[in-house]
Symmetry: C2
Subunit: 338 residues, 2 copies
DNA sequence: TAGGGTCAGTCAAACGATTGAACGACGCTA
DNA sequence: TAGCGTCGTTCAATCGTTTGACTGACCCTA
């Protein structure tokens, strides 16, 4: 009952030619010289038998898998959803399939993932997950092209694509400054996150061009979650005089920041303005609708794919994607009172 | 400079044995009889050379890819994020890698995806995307085991896993009834969505056990997006006397429903209670925090994998996952006024 | 001491596609 | 009519593993 799968040989037999011909027809080999009627017969046979090339055999022979891997921390984080979408579409455009894995699940440590991928299953690996030195070493030992996405690597051989997070922070802070804010605090991301550090740097830089000093108590760290944001905001309120504006390192924390402000009976934007990084769909539907900095996350994913495919593993790659960054002005920011 | 990749033969040579031995050691072949010191030599050689089995060769020989495919409409939808997470972890637990593709991108129609996957790249395919009859036929012609996830298939050969959406609707409506609501309307999902129909059915059933009639104007359809929810809610307000409670078919539409109610100056939950399906992380951070019905989305994904691997392609599979469904009572529901 | 039974391995044929090299037929030219 | 080039096609090695069949050494037992 199980119809054996159709191979090149079957097609060749039906078309009355050698399988080499069929292979070259399938792959549109430019060196192939063939009579039109022969080609016709071959195509017909392919059609009739419903032949589909076996990718395992092809991969084995060509040592190319036609697949790229992408490891992210968590599917539930919409930031990565955007990156995946961009990467997938770029991969497909180049005839590759994208395998996306998350590294946080019970069964899916990075290392286990690397093992499962084994050799010859992917042609390259993109990592958007935090990576331990051990893992990075294992990664290098695979002999695969790899690329860090949205974070810089820690080794001495650099291969990464990131966004201009400092610039994003500047856009946000400058927006607040233009509105007339002077007392601007920052809810930063976790120390371990590369993006968080760059956004904090951008905040400091933007403040530096003004004459407004930034003191240690103007910055509080959260862990990029709503709860973390809520706690960081509470800390800021406790420590200093009430700010008139907050720059939040990501939207998830901004959600918590809004919670804390609501509890403290501070109105947004009348009493405090809030602006955050990443224009996720969610931002528009918060109350009040959140002013954000839109970042080219899809482009980031796409660029990672292009760089991965377009460079040899030894090349140094250190690119900053700068396209299409802009401030999206919504309801959570306004001029300060008085 | 390019170090050739390490194969079984290299390991065998270093260990001074035949490659067959190495293969059986690697795969823990139970029929293998081997001296402890030989095994030791082999393992050492593997270690020293950093051998990793080539999965293309392995797939070719065994006609198993060790990979499962999952096609979803959109990575940005958190409902699918949950399904992916569950599926991935189940797949990994069974030694498989999960390839997740979205079918909405510019380059990624279902058909193109199926072509790219070719033969021998995945051992089975799970579809959470809406599927046209043409696509379903193509799917069947692949000779791969497949499974519809969270939607029923349209062919005569059934293979699907779904959730008990009618029951979810009942839980929601019963919650409202218990609070004392009588005038309960429903913002339903799009007609084409199987889940939407089942939730609407559940709503009707739950209302039927009471003596409260459900009229046509008590139901409005949206497209599962915030905007769709906003418009559907506006329609309900226009058409009938103001309801005291709304059951919304998903959280995305609930976001829009809240917007519309806010614009209409109706307070939630004082004037109107709102409850929606799916306890996504977002629900907790809306204002007011949304009462929801938690659905076992991860289990759904995991079960899909188990069924896919544990059934032959000809089997009929029609399973409803019923675990762990519960009402999550937050701030958006309360007894009606007066 | 012939024969049988482990034990510990080796041999070699697949799996299906790719690809450089070889080959026969034909037409041309000298 | 020998020689050569071109056209259209076939040949066969190869990619790295898996796995059933086979073998040689050794020990026991009759």
């Amino acid at each position: 009952m199980t119809t054996r799968r159709v191979t090149l040989v079957d097609v060749a037999r039906l078309a009355g030619v050698d399988k080499a011909i069929v292979s070259r027809v399938v792959n549109a080999d430019p060196s192939l010289v063939i009579r039109p009627d022969t080609r016709e017969r071959v195509l017909e046979a392919i059609q009739n038998l419903g032949y589909r090339p076996n990718s395992a055999a092809r991969s084995l022979r060509t040592a190319k898998a036609g697949t790229l891997g992408l490891v992210i921390p968590d599917f539930a984080n919409p930031v990565y959803a955007e990156i995946i979408t961009g990467a997938e579409s770029a991969a497909l455009a180049k005839g590759h399939v994208l395998v996306t894995g998350s590294s946080t699940g019970a069964h899916s440590s990075m290392e286990r993932y690397l093992d499962l991928l084994g050799q010859g299953r992917v042609d390259g690996l993109m990592l958007a997950s935090p990576t331990t030195p051990g893992e990075q070493q294992k990664l290098e030992s695979l002999g695969l092209p790899w690329m860090m996405v949205n974070r810089r690597d820690t080794g001495e051989h650099h291969r990464y694509v990131i966004l201009d997070d400092a610039q994003a922070a500047k856009l946000a802070v400058e927006h607040l400054l233009e509105l007339g804010h002077r007392k601007i605090v920052h809810v930063a991301g976790p120390f371990g996150a590369d993006t968080a550090r760059r956004r904090a740097t951008g905040y400091r830089q933007a403040m530096k061009v003004t004459d407004i000093p930034v003191r240690a108590e103007d910055i509080a760290r959260g862990d990029y979650t709503p709860r973390g944001g809520a706690e960081a905001m509470a800390e800021l309120l406790r420590k200093g005089p009430a700010p008139t504006a907050v720059f939040v390192a990501n939207v998830a924390m901004a959600v918590g920041v809004l919670d804390t402000l609501r509890r403290a009976r501070m109105r947004v934007p009348e009493d405090v303005s809030v602006v955050a990084v990443h224009d996720l769909p969610l931002a528009e539907h918060l109350v009040p609708a959140l002013t954000t900095v839109r970042m080219p996350l899809q482009e980031l994913g796409a660029r990672a794919v292009d760089l991965l495919l377009g460079s040899s593993p030894e090349d140094e790659v250190a690119e900053v994607v700068r396209t299409a960054m802009e401030l999206v002005y919504r309801e959570s920011t306004a001029p300060p009172k008085g």
